[in-house]
Amino acid sequence: MSKMKSVKIDRRSFLKMLGWGGAGTALAGCDLPTTVTLEEGKEEVVSYLMPEEYVIPGIGVWYASTCLQCDAGCGLHGRVREGRVLKLEGNPDSPINHGKTCMMGQAGVQAHYNPDRVTSPMLRKNGTLQAVSWDEALSELNGRLGAVSGDRFAMVTGTVSGHQAVLVSALMEQMGSSNHFAHETINARVWRQVCEDMLGDPMPRLRLDKAQVILSFGADFLGTWLSPVHMATEYAKFRSAPRGMLVQIEPKMTLTGGNADLWLPARPGTEGALALGIANFVIERGWNKVNVTPNVRRALAEYDLPKVEEITGIPVSKIKRIASLLSERSPALVLAGASAAGFEDGYESVAAAMLLNIIVGAVGETIEASAQFPEAALLARQGSTADLIKFAKGLENKAFDVVLFANTNPVYTAPEALGLEKGLAEVGFKVAMTQFPDETAMLADLVLPLASPLEDWGTHVAAYQAGGDPVISVQQPLMEPIHKDVRGFGDVMLGLLKARNKEFEQFADYYAYLKTAMLNMPGLADKDNKNDAAWNNLLQKGLLSAKPAKGKLSIKAHTVEVAGYQHSKEYPLHLVPSARLGLWDGRHANIPWLQEAPDQIAKVVWDSWAELHPKTAHELGVKNGDIIRVSSASGSIETQVYIHKGVHPDVVAVPMGQGHTAYGRYAKNRGANPLKVLNPITDKKTGELATHATRVKVSKVPRKNILVKMGGSETQMGRPLVRTVSADQFRRTEGEG
């Protein structure tokens, strides 16, 4: 015994020994008959009847297409092997994404191969949806459309562009209706309006790469804002020497906030006041590059720093630091996203940020006129929540007899308070064109199964054009439809148009329509082309660039009036329904890869959670994993607590995306949907849903969950796994690349 005791085996040696033993076992196992798919004669192998010339089994061929996982319009290359698409990557020729994709783009194949696709048309008979043939479905639909007049017909889509937008407009025209609603929960509608009003260009090009400092009021440009993959590329240039500095002001840390050099949570809804305070200080010090009118100057003078500190909760010293950064590190760029725009005075807050841009001389330097695609009919009809609210109002007034939904799921994304479900119950005939049995489809009277984006034809003009010549991106099928009874969106629309206008009958299908239309485009016009060379080249490249309709920026700085901060006794906290690159607005909750990909900040998987500041959690007496009820005036949700310093103490942040009541096996009955409990408050100027304006109270529910997340521990247990430097040392070296 004593001899054994003298042999010290530490943990490392023990693991080493175990490792060797394990290796020995593995080698001994090499010759054991394995049972994995090796049994002879169990699997089938079917040869081609007649192979295509260029097909070699086992060798992938890459085809160009367009990503439809969000509306940024990234170009794709898809690897196809033996007639199956296996892998998606970015199209290197695309000026938007330069050969890169985000994880949602990568996961496009899982939407395509999803086991819960709708595979045949379904018509509601005796209260239940029953499979019917396309003939029956379309004759029913055409009959209903024939019986409805003008504005009693409504169509609800997501962002739609290119020739699909042309077909949507054509159908609306044939129906004599002006009620096309484009709905996107994650949008930059307020930003666009401010840019249009103050710069004369709704979508100016943002030169992140030229900026030396970026001050972002909740614009999560690396995750969910405008064109994330493009912005990430520009951000990399911004960060390469000399290293640009990023300051992020937001109530809940986003992916962009996590990357910031300085992350500050202003009191929710006071971003505008902060921007005005910084602007005031910049002018006071004479650091402004552009002079403002006396009117604006007077209005700004009200925002002296102590007052701004009182409103925003950001110390005067920090405000001064930000202001000096903006002037020292020229050119600067100021952005404003959802958490600044999502209030009743959201427009004003974003305008305040834009005013700051004007004052520090960013306009013309880091904000350039956009290069717009010259064909106006093909431009993106961008989705908004203002459209959703207008649609809900219409339902309330019983204004529609037939509603056609396409590629959108407003029954899931609309706040309960908009009364969408109740309103829809009154609509005579509801049609859902969709790939999946989502919440909207479950309420519909007719469900038309659409081909997946990887099986369908289309063209897309991104709303945010990245610079250089603007492009139209071609979406071509990467494989035959998996399910034989689905149809492309364009094909269904063309079918509906043919039944109403003989002119469309010259096109056998949407492919024929698209080919004719594209070959008549200015950049491609080649009517004598007999051998399809132009068309084939276009498909190979996936993109057509056009000479831009060049815009010009004209500054119109005006006074901005932001509301002060109101405390509330009954509802002390703010609900932040945070958007994330991954599940997005909930449309990707049925993709297992995105469910299992940990949230970039909280690292939680497969579930919802509520982020609380440690101080708030302590006051409420809750710990990680405790279930809380988050109640607003419009309803309540229950979810688990995740305690995190990256939220403002007055905030409870619940990510969007979960809480589906339908939408297939991976999404259904998982987590909670914060959008449901939002109060129907809107931005006064644009009518956008004020997503961040809802006040809530939190109560403890006597239940507990084990918080499932990557990296269960917040510390490194004394092991230097990630090397760190002190903030002081970092400050000394920053800017040296």
């Binding site: 001994a28 010759d31 798919t37 002879e40 004669g41 089938e44 040869s47 007649m50 086992g58 060798i59």
Partner: protein, 216 residues
């Protein structure tokens, strides 16, 4: 227990080869070749059937008693290979280009059998498939698990093209893993095609030893 015995034998053989190689590296090249041949002849488990083994390959020891797998058409490899002297890669045309060797497309069968042996029942059955526009649903005989990345193309390149091995004798190379197909009707699995078999061959013939070369 049988497996365990064989494993230890094979491991012992592999070890002795390595030791010999280590010694041989110090000697001249002709001596190396000579000794390598001698070692091959001495190893009891490397004894092959009548099919000659190309001199530049050290075949890994290991046999497998494959079952006779009934196929939709009892395709006679013997007739095509032994009697008609058709090259393996005439039909399995993808072997030199891709990871899979490929089952020949039905159009290739019909290229000959539109006119040849049209009175035989098997050819009539094939013609029936062709006229219906279908391919026979063959049963897989040789396979590796999905977590193994095996590519025919690299092996054919190394052992045939890079080695200047005459392409007309390619069945000797194929036979190292597929056995003597020229004596079979439908293919039967004659080699274990498991990791031990692969590793022994890689060790004896200088194949890569990194895990990720195959498991990627």
């Amino acid at each position: 227990m049988q497996f365990a015995n064989r494993t230890s034998l094979n491991n012992a053989a592999a070890v002795s080869i390595r030791r010999l190689q280590a010694k041989l590296v110090q000697c001249g090249k002709p001596f190396y070749l000579l000794m390598a041949l001698a070692v091959m002849a001495l190893l009891p488990l490397t004894a092959m059937a009548e099919l000659p083994v190309p001199s530049h390959i050290t075949p890994p020891p290991g046999e497998h008693e494959g079952e006779h797998v009934p196929q939709p058409i009892e395709f006679p490899h013997d007739r095509h290979v032994k009697d008609m002297k058709i090259n393996c890669m005439y039909c399995h045309t993808y072997a030199r280009r891709s990871k899979v060797a490929g089952i020949p497309p039905t159009s290739k069968c019909m290229g000959c059998h539109k006119v040849i042996a049209t009175d035989r029942p098997r050819i009539q059955k094939l013609t029936e498939y062709w006229e219906k526009g279908e391919s026979p649903r063959w049963k897989k005989v040789h396979d590796v698990p999905d977590y193994v990345h095996f590519t025919h193309e690299k092996h054919i390149r190394k052992f045939v093209f890079d080695a200047d091995f005459p392409v007309e004798d390619v069945q000797q190379v194929c036979g190292v893993c597929h056995g003597e197909v020229r004596e079979m009707t439908v293919a039967e699995k004659k080699k274990p095609l498991n990791m031990g078999f692969c590793r022994r061959c890689h060790e004896a013939n200088g194949g890569p030893g990194d895990c990720w070369k195959c498991h990627k």
